[in-house]
């Protein structure tokens, strides 16, 4: 039952998604690509590109997109695909909702909680690893098809890291590069 699976997977992503949208990517990929085969790795990369180009948080964007595409790829109608995207988006926010409401109630006690502080000595470095894993998993033959891919990667890296080019401009430039080079 794809709708129940979507709901469950996105609850998990919402509950274990520490460290922001990029750290969430390896979680999403692990579930949506590796475990359930809802979308291919290439489609997943495209989702990330689209999320970076469009307004809003990557977590919401990818949930909406993957929710739609997973149901659509399984052969269901457009209406059911929209239902899928609604379920995924709702599910990814649900744990936040519950946690934030509980914590708002205990606001000050949570703030200087030594257990939370201690857990984060381990969680902080792990989220760096999670982001790195997301990048490493996407460095494959589907995304890097020839030497030109590596040139685009190197150019994009230098422009974003050294020259602080805005991601949306970077995406636009890379799209133009694709049109010119291929």
């Amino acid at each position: 039952m794809i709708f129940l699976q979507l709901f469950w997977v996105y609850i998990k992503i919402g509950l274990f998604g520490f460290g922001g949208g990029y750290a969430m990517l390896s979680l999403i990929q692990n579930e949506a690509v590796n475990k359930y085969n809802w979308i291919s790795l290439q489609e997943f990369t495209d989702v990330v590109a689209i999320s970076q180009m469009t307004p809003g948080p990557i977590g919401i964007n990818s949930a909406t997109y993957i929710g739609y595409t997973a149901v659509h790829n399984a052969g269901y109608s457009v209406g059911l695909s929209i239902l899928g995207s609604s379920i995924a988006t709702f599910a990814v926010c649900l744990p936040s909702f519950i946690l934030v409401l509980v914590i708002s109630y205990y606001f000050n006690r949570f703030k200087q909680n030594r257990y939370v502080e201690a857990a984060f000595t381990g969680l902080r470095p792990a989220t760096v690893g999670l982001i790195a894993a997301a990048a490493l998993l996407l460095m494959n033959h589907e995304n890097f098809i020839d030497y030109k891919s590596f040139l685009i990667f190197a150019g994009a890296f230098i422009l974003t890291w050294k020259f602080k080019l805005h991601p949306i401009l970077m995406i636009l430039l890379a799209g133009i590069a694709g049109l010119v080079l291929y």
Partner: protein, 176 residues
């Protein structure tokens, strides 16, 4: 009031591209200028929203909405943040399945895909810098990355292990 909350957050949702952290300056400006929250409280809220799982911008919206108007306030703020992205992406998803195999689109995406990887590497380096990785914590980061990348372990286990490890280490350290 609910309407103002909703449209403030829709506004924030529409005008930020490139993830939750890009939303922050806009959220800060909107909610502090309206006198909804003091600068100090906002910094506290920021720290808490960051230490929770889930989507950062949504966490902030829920915290703030709850503080201002209770449960329904948090619901309205969350909806305001989510709905613009939801509808934009839904339109793209509807449209993209028709143009996906177009030769021009395919060429554009051949260029995009390696750039996307670079756009993930950069925040990874930034995150490493922000938390100030030492050689000890770098080992945790590298082990986590390798376990997910090469061994195929679910990131869920990595997160649970990191939190438990941090708890044991952090709580014992304070005794001495």
């Amino acid at each position: 009031m609910f309407r103002t909350l909703f449209f403030t957050f829709t506004h924030i949702g529409i005008f930020t591209i490139g993830g939750g952290y890009a939303m922050l300056p806009l959220i800060e400006r909107e909610v502090i200028n309206r006198g909804w929250i003091s600068k100090e409280d906002f910094i506290d809220l920021f720290a808490m929203a960051q230490s929770l799982p889930g989507i950062f911008a949504v966490n902030i919206a829920i915290f703030l909405g709850y503080k201002l108007k209770g449960f329904w306030g948090s619901f309205v703020c969350a909806m305001g943040t989510i709905l613009p992205s939801f509808f934009i992406i839904l339109l793209i998803a509807l449209f993209f399945s028709h143009i996906q195999n177009d030769i021009w689109v395919e060429r554009i995406f051949k260029g995009l895909r390696p750039a996307v990887v670079a756009l993930i590497v950069v925040p990874c380096i930034n995150a490493a810098k922000t938390i100030g990785l030492s050689w000890k914590t770098a080992v945790i980061a590298i082990t986590a990355a390798l376990l997910i990348w090469l061994v195929g372990i679910s990131p869920v286990y990595i997160i649970v292990a990191a939190a438990v490890g941090g708890l044991i280490y952090g709580l014992n350290k304070k005794k001495y």
